[in-house]
Amino acid sequence: MFNLDVNEIRKDFPILSLQVNGKRLVYLDNAATTHKPVAVIDAMKHYYENLNANPHRGAHYLSVAATEAYEGVREKVRKFINAASSKEIIFTRNTTESLNLLSYTYGMKYIEPGDEIVLSITNHHSNIVPWQQVAKAKGAVLKYIYVDSNGRITPEEIRNKITSKTKVVSIGHMSNVLGVIYPVKEIIEYAHSMGAIVIVDGAQSVPHIKVDVTDMDADFYAFSGHKMLGPMGIGVLYGKAELLEKMPPFLTGGDMIEYVYEQETTFAKFPFKFEAGTQNVEGAVGLGAAIDYICNIGLHNIHEHERRLTEYAIDKMKEIPYIHIYGPKSADEDKGGVISFSIDGVHPHDTASILDAYGIAIRAGHHCAQPLMRFLGAPATSRISFYLYNTTEEIDIFIDNIKNVRRWLGYGS
């Protein structure tokens, strides 16, 4: 049962009534970051006005309140992604830090010379560069899973690349360029049968589809608060208890220790072992409010709303002969609300600048996915990406102004 009132939702987002260059903001850059509902902004304000303290460290009222707020969100995140225990939820700054935590700890400890690390060519830089560092330091081999002409990963490709030599597979759940949602459950099952562990980068999936880390049997799962209506500066790393248990710590210092001697230290248990120094409690509280907001609307509604927008946009774009879409050309089940495209004769940066003059925010460039761009043979693309507050009217405005882009560049439309 689809049930999402986008006009009601828009009222919750103050920034959406902003005027940009004299036009109402049309924000189609949600894969980069998302806006915040009043509930999230207010939760942070409430935190600073009523609960602010250093958690875990104090016996006083505020410290207890801050600890409860912080640990309450840990439990909320656990439930949201269906982890077995809230101890398996580590707060980080963002997806990038979550993945670096893994490369520095699991990677540097367990990868050995000749081991293979398998990545997807669609991975974001944050899920490529850290593994290059591990491969270089450890003499391991980096291999890439390539995609077919629709941006999909075939079962054969999985079987070709993931072998008994594979130690780690690290893959994006959904591409931030092509919008394809990958069959991570199948990939994980196969990788496990080969003895590899699987890390899933969920930066683009957690905000938009129901993620169940237990059902998919992911070993690690990473995502960012700011892409799911939450604040900047807070991210999550989920890890299976038995893996977190044996991993060395990452950042060291306050709060992640048991006993510190001049020459030696014993460490706290996970998740605290991985959270050094004063944490971003405000960020966690904001993330908690974002999860509440999302759950209240319902992820199935959000996904369906985005699927409709995607279908609407793709249909309109396909009518325009000088537009080319990368990746799937229909709003299939495995297509999220991200569409990359090019316009004949127009460089993506000009597209973005000209649309901006009409109040329309899109992204142009390599989308932090240069290996994929090279694979696609496009140095840059334009990209629109949706969230629960976007409307078909906004897509109409976008489409209308594509014609203006062409006109400014000296083409008839």
Binding site: N21, H347, P348, H349, D350, D356, P379, L409
Partner: protein
């Protein structure tokens, strides 16, 4: 922000005209310039006679602004000495940074003066200065 102050006819002409976009046979200098955050990339080639820039051309890809800016720069420096060209580069960069505003001074940039308004589009400044920085690099060596 007024698009018509940036996407001018002159810029469109330059970005679409291919008259400076070619490879130079027997170039004396070749320099690659690039803009990692955009993916823009040009290769600038220069042929000298003594101290004078006899011919110049470029290859590469980029947005209308960077292509036009490169073409305008090439038109401007042809026939100038290296020193004169370097002075013009400084004038151009000074204009973009709004450090040079004297109209008479800026007139020396010929067509390239139309890029004056790019500072209203901060995200595109890098596109406008790419060729000029590349030339500077080339002669620094």
């Amino acid at each position: 922000m007024d698009l018509s102050s940036i996407y001018t006819e002159l810029i469109m002409e330059h970005s679409q005209s291919q008259h400076n976009k070619r490879r130079l046979e027997h170039a004396d200098h070749r320099e690659r310039g690039h803009n990692p955050s955009c993916g823009d990339e040009i290769t600038l080639e220069i042929k000298l006679r003594g101290e004078v820039i006899e011919d110049a051309a470029f290859t590469g890809t980029g947005c209308a602004i960077s292509q036009a800016s490169t073409s305008m720069m090439i038109d401007l420096i042809k026939g100038k000495t290296k020193d004169e060209a370097m002075k013009l580069v400084e004038t151009f960069l000074g204009m973009i940074k709004k450090e040079i505003t004297d109209e008479e001074e800026l007139e020396k940039l010929e067509d390239a003066i139309v890029l004056q308004n790019i500072s209203n589009m901060p995200a595109r400044v890098k596109c406008a200065v790419l060729a000029w920085h590349t030339l500077k690099e080339m002669f620094r060596e």
